[in-house]
Every structure is written in structure tokens, then in C-alpha cells.
Amino acid sequence: MSRGRSDEDTVKLKVQYNKDGVQTFFRVKRSIKLQKLMEAFCKKRSLDPKSMQFTFDGVGLEKNKTPEELLLNFVQLGMEDGDEIDALELVDGA
């Protein structure tokens, strides 16, 4: 998956699942929608996307998606190689 290519239009990101701390690495095009990355991650880890929350440095990635923001790409978020996205399961309480 990651063959050490350092193309400028791709970025290597890691997604860390908070439950087990396991990191999954993705190399993706910068122009791709984050949504795709999230879906890929959930599929890989057999998780329900609806119960997951993705954050990047404290900014929720899934929650604030608007039709416009669906276009959110890595450039806009300023993501760089090695940046970490947190995948969190939604929690609740009384």
C-alpha cells in the first residue's frame, strides 16, 4: 500500500481507532474526499460508520460535513504526511 512514493499529490495518513489504539495507514490523493477514507477505514475494521466519529486535531471531520464541506480535502485541512486522524466510537451517558 505504501511503497514510499512521495508524490506531492498524495499524503500518508494514519487513522487510530481509540478503542484499541491500532493505527491504520492510508496513502490517499489529496483531492479525495475524507468521506472515502472514513468509509474505507470502517470497512477495514468492520465498524459501523454511523457510530463512528473522526477527528483531526480536535476538529470533528464527520460531524461538520455540509454539502459544501463534503468537498473537504486534505489540502484545506492542512494535513501532512504522518498526520493522525482519530476514529472514535460515539459514547453516551446520563
Partner: protein, 432 residues
Amino acid sequence: MTRRFTSDSESPSKRFQAFEFNADDEVVEKQSAKMIAKFRNLMKPRNKKSTKNKYLDSPIIKYKFLHCFTKNLEKEFRNEAIDVDAGVAHGTKTPQKEITTLLLDDDATDVGTVAEDGGAAGEEMPGLDVSVVSSSPNHEKNQVCAISDDDERIEMCSSSTLVSSPSTSEAPLEEQESYPGSGGYEIVETATGDHQLESRDSRAAANAYKTSGQEALSSLDARYGDVWILDFDFSKSFEDVIYPQGDPDAVCISKRDLQLLQPATFINDTIVDFYIQYLKSKIQPEEKHRFHFFNSFFFRKLADLDKDQPGACEGKEAFQRVLKWTRKVNVFKKDYIFIPVNYRLHWSLIVICHPGEVANVEDEEIESSPKVPCILHMDSIRGSHRGLKNLVQSCHSRKIHLTVVSFCFIMWNVFWRKLLLSLAPLRSSPTF
């Protein structure tokens, strides 16, 4: 009254030990751990296949858990010789009294810290809780009145844990807090214990209060149900709502989240984050720079709560985990930092007051400073978050303390958020 941060003679570093717990807390914590283990074991065989999600998704199960938790505490304390603080103990006729004595004892400490740090008039007050209570009755009235307003509907899910309009301003905080549990259902049993304990100072008032409080609570609950029946039809489709539009911290509320606002359900982080955004929108624009709100993930990340076996929160590691979160914000310039905490199926709130003052003010001056740096933890179900002690233990040296402060610590319940917000703009020091 047990205070661990009372006198001026205590060393400055001691004063900063925001999460200092006494031996009694250990008991509660052990119980809590035991119960959680038991509960998990109980649940596992039934849900072999469907596992965690199912377990986590059922509010009823969680409710049972909380109930189970408090029940067990009761049993356990009955068998133990509890060294209860003289100012608090009023005899141990019933097991319930014993529990609440313990709980009260602990809470008193928290409150004491707050009062002292804020330089409040806590000392003059006869009851331990009064220093805080003194400001809450009014607010409480407001809160309860506000509940019927349309735009306050969201708050109701948490506000329903409160008793409406206290019959007397003497009524200690104990009374107001003694109806925990989002639906005000089973957990009320624990609350009864609180009343018995409290009744030394204002026994008559407490009894009156208890009755009126319970009535108010049940009427509130009924009204809450009505609102839902009237205004929401869950069979209809509901488009996701983005709030506030265009904000980078915007929250997306789906139908699924909305359903959590129904009576007797647990609220999730989306709802909590929404409420934070809602409160933020109520702050005057010129005041906004004074506050910083972390979202509900911050504490999870900081304390690494998602691991199955959360260990002690190593200051440095914790710092690294959330280092980037505040790269655009100087938290030390903020007057109040709010951190919602979800821990063991319960929400509470940490508020860090005037973190910047720790660096600016010399230890001797802190006493007289109008802005006293302190960390408050607000928890509507007393004792339920004591386990956090293990997570945030390393605040001994001043240096480490700064680190801890930078990550803000006051846990509050949704209700408290509102209280603080209504008070904070008016005062420069945290003398709640």
C-alpha cells in the same frame, strides 16, 4: 466538614492538587470497578455475538447498571466502619445514611476547594454546601422556568434531573442534586439517602423540599413527555441539521441523535457538543474570547479513556496526545476553559478557571488576587466519576500542575454549564 485545601498554611503545591481524594473515595472506586466488572461479565454471555455495540446502545441496560452500582455501594458500606467526619455525620441508622455520608463528605471537599480558591464566603456559611448553594437557588429557578421555553427544549433532557424551584434558599445543594438519573427514575432511591443526611441543618426544610421536589420532578417529567409527543414524530424523516452552519466546530445532528433526547435515554457526545455550541452562541461576541470550550472528545483523548484498561494519565504523554488541539488557541489567555467528560456512562464537566494566572501570580498573591486559578469538577451524580482520580493523578509539582491546567479541568453536568455561563460573564473571579 472535610477540607483538604483549607488553610493558608498549606503549601501552594498542595493547593493545586485538584484531584486529591481521601481514603473513602477508594472504597467507592473499588466498588465501582467491581461493579463494572461484574456487570460486564453479566452482559457478556447474553450478547456473545452482538457484543459491545448492543451493550452500549441500550439505555435500559445502562440504567440498570447505574442502579446496580448505587445499590451495591449501599451494601458494601453497611459492612464497613466508616470514619465519618463529625460535621457531617448524623448517625448511622440506615445504610442509606452511611452511603450518603460518605458521598457528602467527599463532595464537601470539592466544594470546599472551590469556595476557598474563589475566596468565596464559604467560611461564614454553616453548611458545607452552602458556599456553592448560595448562588444556585436563583439560578435554579431560572433554569426550571426556562424549561418550558421552546428553545430550551434540548436542555430538558438533562435539566429534568433537577428539582424545580427550591422552597427555601437554605436548602443545601444536596437537595438540588439529589435527583440524579436522566429520567429521574430508579436512581431516586439514592437521592433519598442524601436527604436524610442533609437534614441536620434544615430537617424540616429538607422534608418539605423533598416532597415538593419530587412532585416538581415528576411534573417536569410528565411535561417533558408531553413536549415530545407533541412536537416530534420520529416516524417522519429528519434531515441532518448542521449547527451552527459554517462553523468549523459545527455539529451534525441526525435523527438518531435526536431520539436520544427522549425521556429516559442517554445523551451522546453529539448532543453534548451541540449544547456546547448552543451555549457558545449565547455568549456576547465581545465576551467570547474569554472562554474556550473543548469538545467531548478532548478528555477522552487526553486521558485515553477509550482503552479498555485506562492507566494513570502520564502528564507528558497526555500532553502529547492533545498537543495539537490547541495550536490555534492560547488557553492561558482564557478566563474559563470547559471540558465535558464522559466516563463510565455518565457526563460531567471540568472547568478550569483563570489558568493564565498560575504563571503570572506569585503563590502569596494568589490569595488576594481577584482571579484565582482553580479547577472545578462538576458532577451531577456524586462519586460516579471518582475513578478519574487515577487518570489525573500527577499534578503535584507546580510545573506539572501547569500542564494539567492547560488541559482544563472542571467537569459539570449539562445543567452546570448553564449555571456557569450565566455567572461567569458577571464576575471576574470564580466565586460561584
